[in-house]
């Protein structure tokens, strides 16, 4: 498993990386942790002429909080996110997802920016990114751009990133009130990727009813999506098991499920219902 020949350059800043991307005109790829790109290159499914390594830009692996949001630098590794106090306190589902990615070696090298830019339909993060209504901050030739998560994941391995744009940061809005979140998945036994992964973010009001529910699903369709029908059905409801169950029947509404040797479309659709409910239940448990 040897990649084709390529040039390797190190960018010392994101701005420089954008310039290099422009210079190479589509024949270059950004390298961060390398855990999506390098395997594809070794299988010769990807053959960029040049790799622009942004992995050495020091100020991009932060996780911090200001008054309104959690800010996660594109180079934050899965391990950093899994073990971050800030993430665990405010967006635990994202820490759940990070902790379920690959193995410890992968989590020590792989980055959140690289993962979401790659947009594998079975990646773990997108479910949580969607459920938290995150914003993706990008840098391109025209400067910075804010892309809402709902617009970011466009198709299989395709995002709203422009050709010369790079993910700079993920912002997750802070919420007040009784908030809980969780991410659960059924892993494909070989790859560990999600056959179905569900992230739920719930907010309970004082009477214990669900004032807000957001559910992101990954692994099922061409790209991660929100279970909007279920969210609507649950809003304002007291979270009794039969109500959750009925509402989650609609979790896969509108999605065309993937089918491969690991799972049929029907199975993925049913797992969507099951994991949506389990994620909501786990999130409620944590909110309580």
């Amino acid at each position: 498993m040897i990649a084709q020949n390529f040039e390797y350059t190190v960018a010392t800043s994101l701005g420089e990386a954008v310039n290099l991307l422009q210079k190479h005109g589509g024949r270059a790829k950004i390298l961060a942790g390398g855990h999506s790109l390098i395997p594809m290159m070794k299988l010769r499914l990807a053959a960029p002429e040049t790799l622009i390594d942004i992995g050495r830009i020091p100020e991009l692996s932060y996780v911090r909080r200001d008054g309104e949001a959690i800010h996660i630098g594109a180079l934050a590794t899965h391990h950093v996110i899994e073990t971050s106090d800030v993430v665990s306190r405010h967006c635990l589902a994202l820490a759940d997802a990070a902790g379920l990615i690959g193995d410890i070696q992968v989590r020590n090298k792989g980055t959140i920016g690289g993962s979401i830019a790659h947009a594998d339909p079975a990646a773990d993060y997108p479910a949580s990114i969607l459920a938290f209504d995150a914003t993706i901050v990008t840098l391109g030739p025209k400067g910075e751009r804010l892309i809402p998560a709902s617009k970011f994941f466009v198709d299989m391995l395709t995002t709203a990133l422009e050709p010369n744009e790079i993910v700079r940061e993920i912002q997750i809005p802070l919420r007040s009130g009784k908030i809980g979140s969780a991410y659960l998945k059924m892993a494909q036994k070989a790859s560990g990727f999600a056959i179905c992964g569900a992230a739920a973010v719930v907010e309970l009001n004082e009477s214990g009813a669900l004032s807000n529910v957001a559910i992101g699903i990954t692994g099922v369709g061409n790209h991660a999506f929100r279970a909007t029908e279920t969210e609507k059905a649950l809003k304002g409801q007291k979270p009794a098991r039969d109500i959750l169950k009925t509402a989650c029947e609609k979790a896969p509404a509108g999605v065309v499920a993937l089918e491969d040797i690991h799972a049929s479309a029907d199975y993925r659709l049913d797992l969507t219902r099951i994991f949506a409910r389990r994620a909501v239940e786990a999130a409620i448990e944590r909110a309580g």
Binding site: M1, I2, L43, K189, A190, I261, H262, D270
Partner: protein, 775 residues
Amino acid sequence: MPKRYVGQAMKRKEDPRLVSGTSTYVDDVVLPGMLHMAVARSIHGHARIKGIDTSRAQRLPGVVAVVTGEEVAAHCGPLPCAASIPNMKNAQRQLLAVGKVRFVGEPVAAVVATDKYIARDAADLIEIDYEPLPAVVNPEKAMEPNSPRLYDEFSDNIAFNFGFESGNTEEAFKKADVIVKERFVNQRLAPLSMEPRGVVATYQMPDNELVVWASTQVPHLLRTQLAVMLNVPENRTRVIAPEVGGGFGAKIDVYAEDGLVGYLAKKTGRPVKWIENRRENIAATIHGRDQIDDVELALKKDGTILGMRVKAIADLGAFYSLFTPMIPTLTGLLAPGCYKVPALKFDLVGVLTNKMATDAYRGAGRPEATYMIERIMDVAARKLEMDPAEIRRKNFPQPDEFPFQTSGGVVYDSANYEAALDRALQLADYKALRRKQAELRSQGKYMGIGLSSYVEICAMGPSAAMPGGGWETGSVRIERTGKVTILTGASPHGQGQETTFAQIAADEFGLEPDDVVTIHGDTARIPSGIGTFGSRATAVGGTAMYFAVQDLKEKMKKIAAHLLETTPDKIEFGVGKLVVKGDSGRFMSFTDVVDVAYNAVKLPPGVEPGLDATRFFEPSNFTFPFGTHVCVVEIDEETGEPKITKYVAVDDCGNVINPLLVEGQVHGGLVQGIGQALHEEVVYDENGQLLTGTLMDYAVPRAHDFPEFELDRTITPSPVNPLGVKGVGEAGTIGSTPAVVNAVVDALSPFGITHIDMPLRSEKIWKILKGRKAS
């Protein structure tokens, strides 16, 4: 002298070099001027080769040579197959495809270049013009008369028919109160050693000696085969197996790349290296299993077995590797399992399909047998409303019936099956498990308990049953300083014989294990040998070594007796010394006796100098380890996912040299057997495309898939060898697979389920849960 080391859980002598990363694997071998080989492989399951254009590859700077099928076939023999079945078709393969390709991954052309990157790029530049042909991947379809044929020269794809009957099955089935039947499929598996295959070869002046470093289980066998294949005198051929990172049977075979590397080293006069990558490993290293067994069992209503009929179809893949045709015949030998089956009819058809060849993979033909008998026993128990433990108990031969002649045609050496079953049930608290199961079922939860009582064939084996011989060699040399060097023809690659042989020799000589070094895996250092497979290294190789030790002990006793003025029969070994029996004040130190042997001045008349002995051990029979496993699963009633919550394994491998190593072997074996039950499967589509070509799609079991294994042993020594050992390398794999499937089927029995095919993916169980209501 009491045993001080045999039976002790000693840490392995091998481990420090392994855990510190200081050992040498094939890929660590770097020679001056070494070239690197890459292989262009078939992308089709079945196609005619219309032309190969190597010109672009030849022109790439750094490329030294590009070779294709005709050239190599003119200079090298085909891939060897040591097994033979009467009237079998000769499905031999050339090192590089000539005329046709018959499976995805088949080598078509090879290139050597100055570095591995250039070699890989050059392989991509070789243009192969294919005319795709219809592929056959389903063995039953491949048997149909109008099926596309793999070999134009053969009338059909049926490689051979094999069968036997012992007892009168027709009568047995006529007399039966109950007949149960089921189809059991053993899916195709990839052996997946951690270290893939690899070869380095040099063939240089002044002696034109072919030296080959290979990740192999059988260096001597590989040496003979390469000498023949490459037309190099065998006494100018040397094979070195350095550290070998696992084999599981797949490194017994002689592969095209072994020959190609040797040929290219001869052709270029430079050392050549090839290291297999994981995709090649899954596509072009032998696969295991792939057998369909239609099984019928005839019983009396009290559960007594009267007879068994098996119709087996073995999917051999596209050609014969070293033992390919022989492996499924082993299923017939072991078909009765650990039960009295008075009448057995076994019919096997071997079929050629457009897939990689199958061959020995941990268990090799015996897991298929154990799976079918252990599954059909459960089917019968359910039909007769008997407890699965009781139907097994009812049919065991009793300890005093051994040696026990089976209807499979072998003689089981020794056993106490009931003791192992009872211990396993006790350890698992079987009755409490059944109570818990009933309680959970009333709550709509599905827990299952699976048993597997297995026996298997080890210590391979008598030469009459083994193509190429079943003996093994052991040479023991006591050095002038009193240190002991063992040379073994067995070629351990993870089994730990450097440790266990030292334990045995240390006890025999009254020395410490640190005084003993075991050398293996180099045909220039080890005079001859066969290798490590079929759980044979200790039982056969250890016994050869043990006899050589006895020869030296006898010689040392003669020397000591001469100097202590007594007779050899009065001398015994103590710790560090040879003592006159009953007179502990009269002794010579071990090293003093060694000095006399080498200084050769005070030797008794007729005794030659030196302390060096070699023995060949030819076993009189196989050995037959056995045991009972108990698996408990819980099924996620929504997703169908099975989770193993308890696993008990009681194994009997005869005498135990080192319990730590036995447990390690059992753990590894369980993981591979359970991996087959739950996850693993090599999948080809209808065109012969390999859909599980990487570890992103081929599911290897991982530590978190398992609970803590609860292990115990019973000990029934084997009478076949003086060590009383049976072998344990494959037992875990053979015993575990049916235990898991029996547990899952047991969990789902309220749905009327009697069988589910492996691997037991969650989705299969989900479908059952969705489709039916529990009765």
